[in-house]
């Protein structure tokens, strides 16, 4: 027992070293983003040759990259940003409302049809998008779901699986007695759901909401195939379009839009970090 205090002291020293090591790793971890920020202020020709250097007097571009980036590829960046935001908000809201309602009905009524639907939902979670991408984009075209205002229906359809799976899991953990109390207190099914069940679903609503936001905001292929990209572009489409369509790209301007695309994500992350990490851990069951 004599060496006990010494062990504790060495333990404390080890922890200090770990903190230093992790600080260094974390600095390295954010370097790529720092790099983007630095290069967004460099003239195009210097991005490739002096990628890791700070802008010099010669290479400093001031805001010109951002100004170019705003109208890059003859498409205003703010439109892409706006469409991305519109699609993300609408889709997430639609998925949350419709799927929580359906999940409650499935968990409580549990008829044959519900079981079939639920099984299909679980099944859809393991189907890769490539399996349906061609037919889905054609179906969406036929049904005029190819605008930013209607594409949320496509997202609802393709994203229902995970959301329903998560909601059903939570609804099943709510004691039925609370809903029975609501029925006696004077609620019909609709009010039972909206006044009693939905408020209790709040933690799951946040988790699912965050997963859907992350998915829809970053999604490239689905909107690319469904939307008419001459008219409507989201941020990932806009970025990919720039890179893909020219042999030589204005790299400085590309970095500028990438930076503009990342900043809202960082703000969103820092403001609801706690929920995001919780939501991601909850969604880990996704296939």
């Amino acid at each position: 027992m004599a060496n006990q205090p010494q062990t504790l002291a060495s333990e404390a020293r080890r922890k200090k070293i770990l903190t230093i090591v992790f600080t260094i790793i974390c600095v390295i971890w954010v370097l790529p983003v720092v790099c983007v920020a630095i290069n967004s202020f460099k003239l195009n020709t210097f991005v490739k040759t002096e990628t890791f250097a700070l802008p010099t007097e010669e290479s400093f571009a001031r805001w010109s990259n951002f100004i170019t980036g705003m109208t890059f590829g003859n498409y205003p960046f703010w439109s892409a940003f706006g469409y991305s935001a519109l699609i993300t908000v609408l889709s997430t809201a639609l998925i949350l409302i419709c799927c929580s309602m359906a999940a409650w009905y499935i968990a409580r009524v549990n008829s044959k049809f519900c079981k079939v639907l639920y099984t299909l939902c679980i099944f859809s979670m393991v189907v890769p998008f490539q399996m349906v991408m061609f037919t889905l984009s054609k179906t969406a075209d036929t049904l005029k779901l190819n605008t930013p205002w209607t594409i949320p229906i496509v997202y609802l359809g393709f994203g229902a699986g995970l959301a329903i799976f998560m909601f059903v899991g939570f609804v099943k953990s709510i004691p039925l007695e609370i809903e029975e109390a609501a029925a006696i207190d004077g609620c019909g099914p609709v009010r039972t759901f909206f006044l009693v069940v939905l408020p209790m679903l709040k933690p799951t609503l946040i988790s699912v909401g965050i997963l859907e936001i992350m998915w829809v905001w970053n999604d490239y292929l689905l909107p690319y195939l469904v939307l008419d990209i001459n008219q409507y572009r989201t941020i990932p489409i806009q970025i990919q379009y720039l890179k893909g369509s020219y042999g030589t790209v204005d790299l400085g301007a590309t970095m500028a839009i990438i930076l503009m695309a990342i900043i809202p994500v960082i703000v969103f992350y820092l403001s609801c970090q706690k929920y995001i990490i919780k939501g991601v851990a909850a969604g880990a069951v996704k296939g």
Binding site: P175, L176, I178, E180, A181, I184, D185, C187, P199
Partner: protein
């Protein structure tokens, strides 16, 4: 004014074996138990069979029985949470079978309290009134009045999570009484509380019923609650009503072995014997002894037309007295163990393979008979006159009160 009447109420769960998974947590366990004991017909499993009961206005009726006996199902049928398979339920003369729970003018207190976790205590209690579109000031007045009655005024702004079990229980009762329901249903409301709180809340419920004008239907598996709370007790087993009566009636005149054993703590002592008509009256041959039958009981047996019958006899532990071993009719055995309860001693003794429990007041502890209750020591006792109940050994029915 609320009279509740249940006529031939029946509940049948069709094809219970076919449902592999039960969805609802707590109740999922019940059908499993039911499977073995409940009657199964072509239609399915009979959870409640031919339940008849008229409940008077402001009466306090307690449904009691072991778990899975159908008492909760009956209550839930009155509430409208469970559909009624057969029979007729009326409240104040109106048939309620198909009426939605919210339109029955009932309130219910659940075992798990079922408070809305996202609402404050105030909102929980105001919720049923808000749904009925009561004016704001009236809601406020009623909620505060109920909170006052239950002593939870200082918690009105809290969420249920921040309350203790007893406080949650009060909120649940408060939510039930704010809208002055005709019928107040309680489903094992005290069973989630610890022993001390339970006694306290039991007393509060007694006080509460004096203050509010509701008819009470109360479900419990605890016979003490049933005895202390009920004006009348309904004892059920395997979906069938065994006996309906006042606490005194079911205690003194149990109709069968089940009721006799279920009511009373410690349990009634049972032993087999043969009842024989003799010249002077009746004699019970049991425990290698001839046990005297009081003249009153003899008269009743005469009326019942008994001549010779195998019976199971029952004697309550409180109605056994210590006796000298050589006294006529005294029963001798050995002490297994004795438990000092304070004012009484519970002596467990075995006699000819039967276990007996005697409740002896401590005043006799070193009393006239001069016995001490060491384990393994011999003991002799006799029954008080009129104490012995006779049940038909074959059917289990009380011979005197068929």
């Amino acid at each position: 004014m609320a009279e509740v009447s249940l006529k031939h109420i029946t509940k049948i769960y069709p094809n219970i074996e076919k449902t592999k998974k039960h969805r609802f947590g707590k109740k999922a366990a019940e059908p499993e138990k039911k499977k073995s004991n409940l009657k199964v017909t072509d239609e399915g499993v009979v959870a409640v069979e031919d339940f008849n009961l008229g409940i008077a206005d402001r009466e306090f009726v307690v449904l009691v029985g072991p778990s899975g006996c159908g008492k909760s199902t009956t209550l839930r049928m009155i509430a409208g949470l469970e559909s009624i398979s057969g029979g007729e339920l009326t409240i104040d003369g109106k048939v309620m079978n198909e009426v939605a729970p919210k339109d029955r003018d009932i309130a219910m207190v659940f075992q798990s309290y079922a408070l809305y976790p996202h609402m404050t205590v105030y909102d929980n209690m105001a919720f049923p009134l808000k749904l009925r579109k009561a004016p704001e000031d009236q809601i406020d007045q009623k909620v505060r009045q109920a909170a006052e009655t239950l002593g939870i005024t200082q918690y009105l702004d809290r969420k249920p999570k921040a309350l203790s079990g007893g406080q949650r229980q009060r909120v649940a009762i408060g939510r039930a009484i704010v809208r002055d329901p005709k019928v107040l249903l309680m489903d094992e409301p005290l069973s989630n509380l610890d022993a001390k709180l339970r006694n306290q809340m039991r007393a509060e419920i007694i006080k509460l019923r004096k203050r509010i004008n509701a008819t009470f239907v109360y479900v419990t598996h605890d016979q003490t609650e049933a005895m202390t709370l009920g004006d009348r007790i309904v004892i059920m087993k395997d979906g069938v009503v065994q006996q309906i009566g006042t606490p005194q009636e079911v205690f003194n005149e149990p109709v069968n072995l089940f009721v006799a054993g279920f009511i009373g703590v410690p349990q009634m002592n049972f032993f087999d014997g043969h009842l024989e008509k003799t010249a002077s009256g009746y004699a019970l041959h049991s425990l290698d002894n001839q046990i005297a039958v009081s003249s009153e009981t003899c008269k009743d047996l005469e009326t019942a037309g008994v001549t010779s019958l195998d019976v199971t006899a029952g004697v309550r532990p409180e109605q056994i007295q210590l006796a000298d071993a050589d006294e006529p009719g005294a029963i001798s055995g050995t002490i297994d163990v004795s438990e000092l309860m304070g004012s009484t001693v519970h002596v467990h003794a075995s006699v000819k393979g039967y276990d007996f429990v005697l409740v002896i007041p401590t005043i006799d502890f070193d009393g006239a008979l001069g016995r001490s209750f060491t384990d393994g020591a011999p003991i002799s006792f006799k029954f008080e006159p009129n104490a012995v109940h006779f049940f038909d050994k074959a059917s289990g029915k009380n011979i005197i009160k068929p």
